[in-house]
C-alpha cells in the first residue's frame, strides 16, 4: 500500500519530470506569455522537432541531443517565418484577431499532425542512445537515466534563457516589447522585428525540447494533444512570461502527476494537467508569479 518511500520516490521523479516539463514549456512562455500570441500549435511544433530528431537518429545515427542542437537553427528560421505570417495576416489587421488567430494555429497543429502521420505512420517512435534505458540506483530508489539527462539539459536551458532575457540587449528588448509596445516604438525601435526575433528564439528552443521529449518517452503523432494541457498549464500557472516561475510551476505539475500516478494509476494521468489548468484559470488567472495583477 501507500508508504513514505513510495511518496519520496514520486516526489523525486516528479521533480525530474517537472524540469523536463519546464524545458518543453519555455518556448510557449515566450511566445504566449510575453508576446500574447495564442500559440496552440506550440506542442505540435514540439512533436515535429521530436520526429526530426528521430529521423536524424534513425538514419544517420546522430546522438539525439546533438540532433536537437542541429535542428535548432532550422527551427529558429521556421519561427521567424511563422511569426511573420501570423503578424501579416492577423496582428496587422487588428480587429477580431483573437478568434481567427486561435483557429489559425489550431489548423496548423492539425496539418503538422497529419503530415507526421503521412510521413512516419501512426506507430510510436523512439531514439537509441547510450543513456536511454539505463537507470541509477540510489538505495532502494531507481532513477531512469533518461530523466536525469532531461533534468540537466532542462535546468541549463532555463538558466540560459533567464540570463538571456535579463542580461543581453535583445533579451531586455523582448521583455520591453511585452510591457509596452508603443513606448518601444516611440524610442525608435521596431517592435515587430523584436517580436519576430523572440518568436524565433521561442521556436528554436523547441529543437532541444523535442530531443528531450523523445528521450524521455516514445512519441506518436497525436502526442501534442496531451501537451497542450501540460505546456499551457505550466505557462498559465507560472504567470505569463516568468521564466523562473515556469520552472517552479513545471515542478509542481511534475510532482502532482507523479503522485496521482502512484496513487490512482496511469489512466488518470492525462486529466491532471488539464484539471490544474482549469483550477488555476478559475481561481488565480494571473498565475503564481503573475506580471499582471
Amino acid at each position: 500500500m501507500f508508504s513514505f518511500e513510495l511518496l519520496l520516490d514520486a516526489v523525486v521523479i516528479g521533480v525530474l519530470l517537472g524540469c523536463f516539463y519546464a524545458a518543453v514549456s519555455l518556448g510557449l512562455s515566450i511566445s504566449f506569455g510575453l508576446l500574447d500570441v495564442p500559440h496552440v500549435a506550440h506542442p505540435a511544433f514540439l512533436v515535429l522537432a521530436s520526429y526530426a530528431v528521430y529521423f536524424l537518429n534513425e538514419h544517420y545515427g546522430v546522438d539525439p541531443l546533438l540532433a536537437g542542437l542541429l535542428i535548432t537553427p532550422l527551427f529558429f528560421l521556421f519561427g521567424l517565418v511563422a511569426y511573420r505570417l501570423y503578424y501579416e495576416t492577423f496582428e496587422k489587421r487588428g480587429s477580431d484577431a483573437g478568434v481567427r488567430g486561435i483557429a489559425f494555429f489550431f489548423g496548423i497543429a492539425f496539418i503538422i499532425e497529419v503530415l507526421i502521420i503521412l510521413l512516419f505512420g501512426v506507430d510510436q517512435r523512439s531514439v537509441t542512445a547510450d543513456y536511454v534505458g539505463k537507470a541509477w540506483r540510489l538505495g532502494d530508489m531507481r532513477i531512469p537515466f533518461r530523466l536525469v539527462v532531461a533534468f540537466v539539459v532542462a535546468a541549463a536551458l532555463t538558466i540560459l534563457l533567464t540570463l538571456y532575457l535579463s542580461r543581453t540587449f535583445m533579451g531586455r528588448a523582448i521583455r520591453a516589447v511585452a510591457q509596452d509596445q508603443e513606448a518601444l516604438r516611440l524610442m525608435g525601435a521596431n517592435p515587430i522585428r523584436i517580436k519576430q526575433w523572440a518568436f524565433g528564439i521561442a521556436t528554436a528552443v523547441l529543437g532541444i525540447a523535442g530531443a528531450l521529449l523523445i528521450i524521455v518517452a516514445p512519441v506518436e503523432p497525436t502526442l501534442d494533444r496531451t501537451y497542450i494541457g501540460r505546456t499551457f498549464c505550466v505557462v498559465v500557472m507560472a504567470g505569463l512570461g516568468s521564466m523562473s516561475g515556469t520552472l517552479v510551476a513545471a515542478i509542481i505539475l511534475g510532482v502532482a502527476e507523479a503522485i496521482v500516478l502512484t496513487l490512482f494509476g496511469a489512466s488518470w494521468a492525462p486529466a491532471i494537467s488539464f484539471a490544474m489548468l482549469l483550477g488555476v484559470l478559475a481561481v488565480r488567472p494571473q498565475g503564481l508569479f503573475g506580471r499582471r495583477s
Partner: protein
Amino acid sequence: MKRNGIYFWIGAALFLAGAMLMTQVIGNQYPFFACYVILQFIVLAVAWSILGGYAGYVNFGTSAFFGVGVYTAVFLFKATGVPLAVQIAAAAAVGALMGFALGLLTLRMQGIFFSIATIAATIIIETAITNWRYVGGASGIQLQRPAVMAPFDNYVEMLFFVQAVMVVLAVAISRYIQNSWIGRGLQALKDDELAAECTGVPTLRLKLTACVISGALMCAAGAPAAMYLQYADPASAFNLNYSVSALAMSLIGGTAHWAGPVIGAILLGVTQQLLTVTISSEVNVLVLGVMLVLFVVAAPEGIIGLIRKVRSKRNEGEG
C-alpha cells in the same frame, strides 16, 4: 421578414419530406450512412456557431458535448433500454446542464483562455468516462440495435431521418436567435464586451444562454451516434476532430449568418465523405486543416462573406 419566415418553413418542410421520401425509395444503405454523418456535422456546426460565431467565443469543447451525448445514450440504453427519442431528449437535457456548468466556470475568461479551458474540460470528462467501467471503460462497449419502428424498414434510415429533424430544429433555433434580441446582444458583446456591459446588455446571462443552447444541441447530435456505430469508446467519442470540424465548418461557411455553418458543413462534409472513400481518412483531416488555415487567412468572413462581397460589387456596378 415575415415572408422570409414562411419561405424558411416551407424549405424546412420540403427538406424533411425529401428525406422521408429518400428512406422510402432508395434501397441501398450507403447513402444513408454517408448523409447521416453530413447531417450530424450540420447540427454540430450550427450549434457551435451559436456561441462561437454570434458571441465570438472559440469553443474547443464540441467533442466534450458530443461525447457526453454519446455516453448519455449508452448509459440510458444499457440501464433501461429506453427508446431513441428519450435518449436524445435526455442527452439534450444533460447537454444543457453541462453547458450551464461549463459556462459558469469558463465564460468569465476571454479569448484563448476560454478556448484552452474548453479543451481542458474535454480531456477531463474523457478521462472520467475512460475510468467508468459500467459504460465500457477504455475498451469501449458494443451495442445491439433494437427493432426498427415503422415506417422505416432499416435502423440507419431511421437515424438518418431523426438527424434530419435535428438539423431543422438546430437551424430554426439558430435563425431565431440571430433575429431576436439575444442575437443582437451577442453581436454587441462580440464587438466590445465592456461597451456592451456598460450599455446594459446582460453579457454573462446572454453568453450562458448561448452556451446552454449550443451544448444541448451538440449533446443531442451525439446521442444517436452510439446506435449508428453500434459501438462507443471514449477515444473516438471525445475525439478532438469533432471540435476542429465544427469550428472549421462554421468559419469556412461564415459566422455572420445562420446559413454559413450549414453551407460550410455541407461543403466540407461532402468533401470528407468523397475523400474518405477515394483516398484515406488522414488526407481528409489534412484537407480540413488546410482549408481552415486558407479561409482564416484569405477569406476571414467565410463563404457568406465572399457572397456578400460579390453581391455588393454587382450592385455598385448597376448603380
